[in-house]
């Protein structure tokens, strides 16, 4: 009896930590087809100040995951404005294709370049009729300073994708482990009752 109690007491924290770790490592993937954003000549690129961050580029195509162009529309302006907490607004085609808000823009300084991502809540535009949420993931290069929200820097070669975002499903092993644990609990309960 004592042994079963020990097993259960050990197993529960292990299971809890495993579930927590799995949730923490659950990566997101951008689902194609996606909007392709590029910085062309004349586009603003990335500018960050002590109070805001702005990005300017051009939406050029809708593509699939293999790189095939699904829809080649006339160039549309892309702009993103964020405050230093990572909250802001985004538009494609001045809002006619997409208008969205976000509250979790994150920048990762990789030295000589950076990646960024944010979860979007669509508020208008033709993309908003099919989905109300999505994400933006991208990168930029040649930053002139330390890359972080609230730091002053500029960067160019902005590249980004906008589309639906999916969380990578938790592996089946975790659920199998959980059901095994429930079994142990059941056995312990039956033993206790006996």
């Amino acid at each position: 009896m004592k042994m079963w109690n020990k097993i259960i007491k050990t197993a529960i924290p292990v299971a809890a930590s495993l579930l927590f770790a799995t949730a923490a490592n659950a990566a997101t993937t951008l689902v194609y087809p996606a909007l392709d954003i590029q910085q062309l000549t004349g586009d603003a690129g990335v500018t960050s100040t002590a109070t805001s961050l702005t990005m300017g580029g051009t939406a050029i195509t809708v593509i699939n995951s293999g790189g095939a162009v699904l829809y080649n529309f006339p160039d549309q302006p892309f702009s993103l404005t964020s405050d230093t907490t990572g909250s802001g607004t985004l538009s494609v085609g001045n809002g006619s294709i997409l208008a969205a808000t976000f509250s979790n823009l994150s920048l990762v300084d990789l030295g000589g370049g950076a990646t960024f991502s944010a979860d979007l809540t669509y508020t208008g535009g033709s993309m908003a009729t099919a989905n109300m949420t999505g994400g933006i993931e991208g990168s930029f290069f040649n930053a002139t300073g330390s890359i972080a929200l609230g730091n002053a820097f500029t960067a160019d070669n902005l590249i980004a994708k906008i589309g639906k975002v999916q969380t990578v499903p938790i592996p089946a092993a975790v659920w199998l482990f959980g059901s095994g644990l429930l079994g142990l609990l059941g056995i312990a309960k039956r033993k206790k009752a006996a």
Partner: protein, 231 residues
Amino acid sequence: MTTINHFKSILAGLGMCLLAFNVSAYPQLTFDGRMTYNLYSKSGLLNVEGTLTRSQDISLAPQLQGSIFEFGGQLATTSTNSGVTRATFTGLNNGPDLRVVNGDSGSTVLLEGDLTGLLMRGANGSNMGILSAQFSPTGGSLLNEFVVGAKLFAFQLNLTRNFGPAMFGQGESFGQGEFFAGNVDGKLSAPASVSVPEPGVLILLMLGLGLGLLVISPRKKFGQKFSHHVS
């Protein structure tokens, strides 16, 4: 007074011609596609293959539709520092590191050359990263448009293996074959200004100057005569 005005016009025209002669272009090819990283006998091979999605300031623009863009490299070193994993790649042993081939015929090489300093990096635990390299063209019909300071920049997303010390499997006894894959979105650009050739501009300038002087001379004489008559 009239002569001075003519000279002013000629000087302005000369200035405009000189400005036109220095028009700059920034050639750029953008691509989208898939990347794979394969292990062969404990060494790694990066391969990216995609299609051209856009071109800018390219003389052969109409012919680029559907062209294939591919590049690769052999894993050289990996390191992890301050939560960022980096991998450097050297050139491929056989053939050019980067090729752009016409999509219609599949045989016309639009651009080919070698990559130096090919570097892939990303934050540990993330499935996003970036690639960058310098590009030295060696052939293809677009060769001249990427001669000066061409660079490759790419964004990697949806990688099937997160960045981390074991990401590239270097020296480990993993089996041969695909180790991870993902999507790539990037561009090849020549950031340095490339002068757009204006072959006839100097000839036209000289012709314009000659004609201008021919017109000015009689008018100048006429103006002098007329002023004499007035006085």
